[in-house]
Every structure is written in structure tokens, then in C-alpha cells.
Subunit: 635 residues, 2 copies
């Protein structure tokens, strides 16, 4: 057994003992350190890069590691074994999956504007941003020998008279604090309550002079990324936001790999623990710490997640999602409270879920479609959500049809060697000078570049193609000072040399990355084509295209069309609406009416199963070119 | 540190290491071995007797240990310290507080008859023994690609059509089993449900060919003893029953000591753990094991407990019960489910509580009064519950008044050197030959006598007094082969010599025991007198006297009157109704109507606080004689 010390970029060390035959990836899992491993540790994806800082290791040479990198100690954690006590550095891109960071598109001025515009549109549609949560001041007469009414009745009677509701529910956790809090300031206290029809539910209580708020948290749980907002339930004001990688990533990059893992002994529990105890709870804890929120103040949690994530989050076996006839355990899920699943907020806080529509169109889409307001318009809207699953919804006030395709994690930084989520340090926009082939780029937070996020990759591939640096198959066809070939002949383009970047080495994109990305964009394009075909519609009938996803604070539509990812429509029909799932989750959190409308969206949406649609595979193959085998589509 | 091995009568060993200065009582607590210590370990009560079998100890000589006992290794655990590795035997009376045993009065033919008579009277009063629990057979069409309805909707729709209720609640624990159980026998399954008004709550599910029942458990939680019944919710049939000592006993014998303990750091948690994890859960586990019940089959739990026990069971601070103006946190407690307090049954099982009436008249009394049916009669009934607290209720169809007095644990075998609960081996009836002074006795289970329970002590003291062996102050005034005096001059009467008894040594009662008992009976009698006085009533107006309590399978009324415990009324007005609290808890469990009526009893009963009643203390002192200072009351 050797001691393996993992060193985060922050300098923090976590040490663990690795048994003989245990890879560094296994050791990291044991130490609860999330290292991105989309292939689940078989050496094929090349994402689990670490840097051996000191000590001896045994390692196989990998195609994913260049000679230069190898000499600097870069290794794949899944193929490397300690051969003595060692110290290992976890690079920034892997580290970023672990720690909570602010949601980029809510903190950049442009991103915040997109979010606020969406909320504004909801308000304009006369959907009241209203809920039943209130802070009430309860002042009672103290008990006497002649008035010995017990504490709970005394409070219930007071609340009844203040709210006019018949039934007052004081759950056990509040009962347990009541005797002392009532006497703290002589039977004058504040309560956080929810008024719902004829009943009032008491979530929290504090002596009158104390601060007490009713706060809600909205979470978008993606396969790769998780984003959260904490907001005041009365004012709607956003108090804090954060995002993190989904810690389940170590069990596979996409939902199918996660489902397979969940069928292994203890797997479902491991995956539920990874999302709740290693992702959501730390994210909430971080927001609480940063914004001075007491976890018990959080009285409602809204969740927008795909169908698989909804199952794993609640510990319900998702295995039947991937087996014909592809039936989920639930579309809608009611009566869940935080304590039932171990989320560390007010134990009685209801957890409300945006409903699923099918095995692969879930609550992230129903909430995103709600936020898009396409269900409230006469014209046909095409809604495209760019995530690990790409989901496409087409419809109007009259109908909604949804389908899903497996885009892979490329848009969220997965399966791309320098990819990362849209957080600080990510390149989110790129232009390339056609002459010098030198790039200009913008990073989130204007820091040195650490990696490249979804919107940046679209730009980068679009510019490389427009400048004739790569061809229709994504192969490098020009030479220059930024273009290198490794010993196997795989070419790459260096965006930032080692000295310029904010990471351990250079920042580059190679032909394998571009190939991954082309598959991702082809999946999106062919899904759109197939859906239109199934409805006997053509592109021209689409009045608006809304692009959603937490891929950056904006998207260069011209580049996205240029590479054949989006249909060739006038650019002014496109809008980027940010992380619409999170916007929808926020709306559902704050507005009971919105929650009801999202439920209706789920019930009315038709689900198209692409995998059984005859022409889909052909469409996909045809789209695996830049822009397309049928280039007339993009003239 | 020395190793202390505790050996139970069963021969089972539990070993623990005792630190320097840790008494054997401390060590036993660490090992989770309940040794009765009403004084909480200050050496005054003499109950924590153990026998040192091997090894060296340091121990103070105690007034509670005779020379003979001392020479045989008998010590008080609270005043004894290991001085080397030792083996300690825990005597039967202490052991009996630990293990679950069958409820004596439900297993003896007489006791069962009393219980069934009470249930019969409830039925005769046209109170339907009905509840909403059902086992339903749900047969569904399996899903297809054209009928991909999710599992929960499919089941809910089926249940809706079977029950005719609008709302179907499938809580998370059932959701988590659903996908697999539904597919086990091709969408044919059984569900345990509760139909309540317009909604159906699903507790459990199993494939159609499996056994599935809805079972309820009723528990009487006393300060000293805990008794439980498991019954089928459909037929009402009793499947199993058990009783055990309340493991909180190690923190003090009466409710005041428990409340004081609960105010110490971590005390409330310790007391809640003692009742839930060390008493109720093992008791339920034992019943499940003995009767082949799966814990998830238990879908409802009813609790009859005094006000302090109700607070401690739910983890609610009881400290204000003992402080003016003596206000409990609650009379009624709703919406509690098993998972909220950690009872190991179906996590969604509702826990229903008989309501409290005041700080010292609790749910054990409202449920007992319900079972007595006194609230349904025109004549005045006096209800006397003999427990650690003695509670007295007087009333009729028109009114109910209740009060409580501290009788101490004498009726349940506490504070009496040879006392024990009414379980197997307890002497429950005694006669003494006036000439030879030899006793004849009957034990529960017809085994060798291990100790003496409440009804036996009443008999024993009554007979000793009737035979002129003790005087009105409880002092021994005759000599004989069964009467001994120790070195301090304290006399005792030997019921069974060492060879005849089922315990380590002889079985005897001494003057200190008799003094404890006289205080207990005086507390009861003076409470009755005071209550009548407060209502300007006299004995003659009482049509019936009902004596309740788990003190044995019957009570010798003549002896109870002879010693001045009960008023001098014609014997035929008295009935012993057994553990009425448990009967009431069973009724509340099985009958929704009974639960409602018990709630009404709680709301209508007037609470008399004896401690503020001027003449109570004088009445008590006057009653501390056999039968009374005013002997004309017993002519």
C-alpha cells in the first residue's frame, strides 16, 4: 500500500492509501475526489489527466498524452499505479467538476440580461410570480395556570387567526424547537409558513428579534453540470447562485452509462449519493456560506432534471428507461420532502419536480420549454437544448412535440481535451485571423484561459473551418506555427501556448476533439431534420429558433450555422436564451401558477422516439460533415 | 482499564472496558445493559444489585446489602468499581427490564378474558372496529410502446378504479420498490393501502403471489413498563404481544427524574434513544421475529403514554411540564410518521397518539378511560390507574375529571427489593396462614417465584396486616421462622427461601419495602379523597370503581381495601380491567371511531392539579397508615 496525496489547484491536499493494483482513478474515487472519466476508466477517453509531482509510478503510455506532456509527469489516472508514496496534482479542468462556482451566465452582464428577459416575458404573459410562503409575526398571550393551553394549540390558534386558514400543520422538527423558542421572547415569534388553500404549514420559527426568511432553491441537474439559484420566496430576489459538475461523472459520461452503473450491486445508492451528498448538498452549503443563509431557511426546492437524473436523484431504479417499451417509473412525482431524500435544507421543504415526458425528454425540457414561452405563441418555435443529451422541441400554442438525441458531453466540455464547463476561465468566444491563423478569444471572467466551453468550441470549429484550416471532415489542411502533429500523425491547433494559458500546459484542440464535436453537432442537426420530417414540415415554417443550455453567456449563430449544427435560417430568427431549464426551475419555485403550467406542458407534449424512426440514422451520418454532405442545405 | 463481563441469567456475556473511577453501573450503561437504578446511581435506592462472580472489586458496604449477601458477592453496581478484570452476574429482576416478554395479562387465561371483555363492551356500544386499511389486488395491463404510461400513473389509475378515491398517494419508499415489483409478476401485485375519505395512501406492495398484510402495533409506554400488541388491521386478530422495561429507567425512576435528565447536555436525545432504540424497536423486532411479521407490514402505530413519555418519545423538550404554569408542548399531536422518529416499521406508518389532558394526565389515561367505557354511562365511575404515576378519573356520561399523584414504581415492582413487573415468575397472589405464617402464592406462568408484582405486593401487605404480623405503621410485631432482622434491626418476611425461589437468593419483603408501598397506596387513596372533596362528593355516590394497570392478571380487592388503598365500598362495585391503556391503544389502532372518541375524551376532561389543592398533603399523611389514621373509614 502506498500513500497517494492528491493536490488540488487551490493547494489543498487529500491523502489516501492505494492498494496494489488500484489505479490513481480508483484511489481518487476512494478519496471522494471527482476526476472526470467519461469512459469510466478504460483508458479510451483520455480525460482523467493528472500530473505526478513526486514519487514513482507505473504507467502505460497513452495516445492521449504527448511526449512533452509525458516528460512533465502528465498521466492518465486510470492507467497509472503508485509504485511508492506519491503526490499527484489534479488539473483545473478536473478540479472544476468538484467545486461549486458561480453560474457564469447569471454573473456575466449579458447572461444576467438573458435570464431577466426570460423572467420578464413570464411576467408579461400575466403569470403571477406568487407563492404561498410568508413570514408571519405571531404574538401570543403567555400561558397561565388558568390558561394552560399547550404550545402547539396556542401557536396554531394564533396562526389560524392571522392567515384565516382552518388547518395548521406544525411538523415534528418545528414541534421540537417550539417549547424553547416560544419562551425565548415571551411568546412573541416569527414563523416561516406556506399557505396553501385552507391549510398553513409551518416550516420554521424564531424569536421575534431574530432574522427569518423563507428562501427557495432552484436546481438544474444536468448529466454533466448542475446549476442552482437561491432566491427569497417573497421578493423573488436572487440571493446567490452556484454551479458544479455532477459528481456522478466518474460513473460514466452519459445517462446510459449511469443507468448501467445503477444496476450493479449498490450502484443506485452510489449514484444517488453522488448527486445528493457530493453535488447538491455541497452546492447548497456553498451558497448558504457565501450568502449567509441558514439551511433551515430554505423551504422549497425545485428540480429541473432529465428523466434519468430525476430517477437517480430520488433513488428510483432507472433501468427500465433503457429497455423497451422505455417506461419511466414516473412522469410527475408529488409529496416528496427534503428529509425523504437527504437534502440538507429544512427537513419539511417540499421538493417539486418539473415533469418528465418520456424516457429521454425530462423535467429539464418541460421547465425549459416553459421558460421559452413558445407554448404561448401562435408561430412555430424550434427549441434546442444543448446538453449531454440534445433535446429538440417543436411547437406552438397548439401543439408541442419533443425528442432527444445523444450529443455527448461536448457542449459542456466533456470529450474535448481542453473542454470545460461555462465557468470562470472558460473561453466562450473565438475569432481566428484567416492570414496569421492567430486567435482572439474572450474568457468568462476575463481571466487567463483554462479551457473552452460549449459556445467557444462552436466558434473555434466554425472559425477553423471558415479559415480553411480544417476541411469538411475536420482534418487539418493548413500548416503554421500553431499547428502541430504528434507522433501518431494527429494534428492539433494551439489556442494558447503553455505560458499564456491558466492551466498546466498548452490549450489546444486536436482532430479527435473535432471529430467528437462533429458527432455532437450532427446529432442535433439530424434530430431537427427527423422531427420536421415526421411532421411533414420544412425549415421555412419555423418562425423562431431558441437555443438553450448552460454553454456560455451567448452563442455565435453564424458559426453554428456555418458548421451545419443549426438549420440555415436568417440569423435574426435565432435567440440564445441561456440555461432555460434553470430559468424554468426558478419560475416553478417562485410561482405556483408556473408550476401548474409546467405540469400542463408535460401532459400535453408528444414524445417522439428517434431511435425507432427509420431515417434518423441516415440523417445523422449525412450530417457528420462540415457543414453537411448535402452542402446545398447551407448555401 | 479493566474488562468487565456482564453475564445475563440466560448465560449471555457482554464485555466492556471500564475506565478508572467508572462504576459498574456506568460500565453497564456503556454496554447498553439496563440495570434498574431508580435513584440514578447515588447509592440510595439499593436496586442496582449485581453479583460479582470472579475478579477483584472495590466497593462500599451498603445498608441495602446484608452480610450474607455481601459474602456471596452481591454488590450495588453504582458503588462498586472493578479492580482487575471481573465477571458480574446481572440478577433476574434487573434482566427482566431488558428483554421483551409476553404481556402477562394477555397470555394468562384470566387476563385475556379481561382484555376481551373490554373490547366486547366497546363493540356493544356500537363503536365499529373499523379502519381504512385494506389489501388490494392490482392487476394492470403491461406497458407497450403505444401505452407507455409510467409506473406510478398506471398503478394510481388502477387503485383509483378499485377504491373509488380521487387521490392516490404513493410515497417515495414505495416508489423506490415499484419498478421492480410491478414487473416481477407482469404487472399483477398486491398493495397495502389506507383509504381515508377521498384519498388512498399506499404503504407497501408485493408481487401477487407473495404474502402481504396490513398490521398495526399498539403500545402502552409507561414510565416503568412498556407493553405492545401487534394485530391484523383487517381482522383485528392479535398476532403477537410483548412487554419490556422502559430502558429510560437507568436515568431515574419517575417522570421528574427523567425530565431533569433531559435538560442535561444531550439528555433529551439519550432519553429518546432509550425509549425508541432500546425499548420500542427491540420490542417490535421481537414480535416480528416471533410472529413472522415483516416490519414493513406494520402500517400504523398507536401510542398510549403519559405526557412526559409522549414528549420524550417524540424528542420534544418536556422541561416546561414541571415548571409553573405546567404547560405541555402539546395535548394532541398529528401528522407524525414512523420515519420521523426512527421507529423501525413501515417508514410511512402514521403514529397516532392518545391525547394528553395536562402535564401529569396523559394519553395513557385518555385511552384507558376510553377502554373503561365510563364516559358512556350514567352512573358515576371512579377509574384508578395504578402505575408509577397513579391517575384517578371520576365521571360519567356528563363529565370527566382527572388528576395524578406520584405513587412511585412500587406497583410495577420498583422500589421494592423483590419487586418485578407482571411477567413470568412474578408472584401475583398471596395468602398467609394466620397460625403458621407460611404463605401460599401463585406465580404468573406457574414457575418458581422470581419476584413479586403489583397485585402480589397488595396481597402480601394485606395478608401480613390481617395476620397481625405487621402493625398499622408496617412494623413487624410477630416473630417466627420466616421473620428475620438484619444487623440494623430492619425486619423482613421471607416468602421463599433461597432454595425455593427462582432467583439468586431468598425472596423477602422488609420494613423499608413496606414503607415504600404504604406511601404508594396512600398517594392513591388521598388522591381519591381530594378529588371527591373538590367535587363535594362522597364515596357513596360512586357506582363503580375500575382498577387498571399492568400489575398482574387480577387484584384482590378485599386486601386492597383492608390496607386502605381503595375506599371501603362493597366489593362488587370494583372491577379490575387490566392494562386499560393498552386496551385503549388497541381500540384506537383498530377503530378510527375509537380514535376520534379518545380525542373527545381528551378535550372534555377537566384536569385537577393536586399539588395546588390545599388539603392534599394532609390527606396523604393521614393515609400513611394501615388502613388509615381515621380507621372509621374502614369499618
Amino acid at each position: 500500500m502506498f500513500k497517494v496525496t492528491f493536490r488540488a489547484e487551490s493547494g489543498e491536499d487529500v491523502a489516501v492509501f492505494a492498494a496494489f493494483g488500484e489505479s490513481l482513478l480508483d484511489a481518487a474515487r476512494k478519496a471522494n475526489i471527482a476526476i472526470d472519466a467519461p469512459c469510466s476508466g478504460n483508458g479510451s477517453c483520455g480525460k482523467c489527466r493528472v500530473k505526478v509531482v513526486s514519487g514513482q509510478v507505473k504507467s502505460e503510455k497513452s495516445i492521449h498524452i504527448s511526449d512533452d506532456e509525458y516528460s512533465r509527469g502528465i498521466r492518465l489516472a486510470c492507467c497509472t499505479y503508485a509504485d511508492g508514496d506519491i503526490v499527484v496534482e489534479i488539473p483545473g479542468t478536473a478540479g472544476s467538476y468538484q467545486s461549486g462556482m458561480r453560474v457564469a451566465d447569471l454573473n456575466s452582464p449579458g447572461g444576467r440580461a438573458v435570464f431577466e428577459a426570460a423572467i420578464d416575458e413570464i411576467r408579461k404573459a400575466s403569470i403571477p410570480i406568487e407563492n404561498g410562503f410568508r413570514i408571519i409575526d405571531a404574538e401570543m398571550d403567555p400561558p397561565t395556570v388558568d390558561n394552560p393551553m399547550p404550545d402547539n394549540e396556542r401557536l396554531a390558534r394564533c396562526i389560524r387567526s392571522l392567515t384565516g386558514t382552518e388547518r395548521v400543520v406544525i411538523p415534528l422538527p418545528v414541534m421540537q424547537m417550539l417549547p424553547d423558542i416560544m419562551r425565548e421572547e415571551n411568546f412573541k415569534l416569527k414563523c416561516a409558513v406556506e399557505i396553501n388553500g385552507d391549510s398553513t404549514y409551518v416550516y420554521n420559527a424564531a424569536a421575534m428579534s431574530q432574522t427569518l426568511r423563507a428562501i427557495g432553491v432552484a436546481i438544474d441537474i444536468g448529466t454533466t453540470s448542475v446549476s442552482a439559484i437561491a432566491a427569497d420566496m417573497s421578493s423573488g430576489m436572487i440571493l446567490e447562485n452556484a454551479s458544479a459538475g455532477n459528481a456522478q461523472i466518474r460513473y460514466g459520461a452519459d445517462v446510459i452509462n449511469r443507468i448501467v452503473e445503477s444496476t450493479r450491486p449498490g450502484g443506485l445508492k452510489r449514484l444517488q449519493d453522488a448527486i445528493i451528498h457530493e453535488t447538491v448538498n455541497p452546492l447548497i452549503e456553498k451558497m448558504c456560506r457565501d450568502a449567509g443563509i441558514h439551511p433551515w431557511e430554505i423551504c422549497r426546492l425545485s428540480i429541473a432534471a432529465n428523466t434519468t437524473m430525476n430517477h437517480l436523484f430520488t433513488g428510483i431504479n432507472p433501468d427500465h428507461l433503457r429497455k423497451e417499451p422505455y417506461v419511466p417509473a414516473f412522469y410527475e412525482l408529488a409529496d416528496i420532502r427534503a428529509r425523504d431524500i437527504g437534502v440538507d435544507i429544512n427537513p419539511g421543504a417540499p421538493v417539486i419536480f418539473a415533469p418528465n415526458v418520456g424516457s429521454y425528454v425530462g423535467g429539464d425540457i418541460t421547465s425549459g420549454v416553459f421558460a421559452s414561452m413558445m407554448w404561448n405563441r401562435d408561430e412555430f418555435t424550434l427549441f434546442i437544448d444543448l446538453g449531454t443529451n440534445g433535446e429538440i422541441v417543436l411547437g406552438s400554442r397548439d401543439f408541442l412535440m419533443g425528442c432527444a438525441c445523444s450529443a455527448g458531453p461536448a457542449f459542456e466540455g466533456g470529450e474535448i481535451s481542453c473542454g470545460m464547463r461555462a465557468t470562470y476561465g472558460a473561453i466562450e468566444a473565438v475569432t481566428i485571423d484567416p492570414e496569421t491563423m492567430d486567435p482572439e478569444y474572450r474568457t468568462i471572467g476575463d481571466t487567463a484561459p483554462v479551457g473552452i466551453c460549449g459556445s467557444g468550441i462552436i466558434d473555434l470549429v466554425g472559425e477553423l473551418f471558415a479559415c480553411g484550416i480544417i476541411d469538411a471532415r475536420g482534418r487539418f489542411v493548413r500548416e503554421g506555427r500553431r499547428i502541430f502533429r504528434d507522433e501518431y500523425g494527429v494534428a492539433r491547433y494551439v489556442i494558447a501556448f503553455a505560458g499564456e494559458s491558466g492551466r498546466t500546459g498548452e490549450l489546444s484542440i486536436d482532430e479527435a476533439d473535432i471529430e467528437s464535436f462533429i458527432r455532437a453537432k450532427a446529432a442535433i442537426y439530424s434530430a431537427i431534420m427527423t422531427m420536421l420530417d415526421s411532421l411533414s414540415m420544412d425549415f421555412g415554417m419555423i418562425g423562431r429558433v431558441l437555443v438553450a443550455g448552460g454553454i456560455g453567456s451567448g452563442i455565435n449563430i453564424r458559426n453554428a450555422i456555418r458548421i451545419g449544427m443549426f438549420p440555415n435560417l436568417p440569423e435574426d430568427r435565432f435567440s440564445y436564451i441561456g440555461n432555460a431549464s434553470l430559468t424554468g426551475a426558478y419560475a416553478m419555485l417562485m410561482s405556483d401558477k408556473a408550476a401548474e403550467l409546467i405540469k400542463n406542458i408535460g401532459r400535453s407534449m408528444t414524445y417522439l422516439e428517434l431511435s425507432v424512426y427509420p431515417s434518423y440514422m441516415d440523417e445523422f451520418v449525412a450530417a457528420c460533415f462540415l457543414p453537411h454532405t448535402n452542402s446545398s442545405l447551407f448555401e
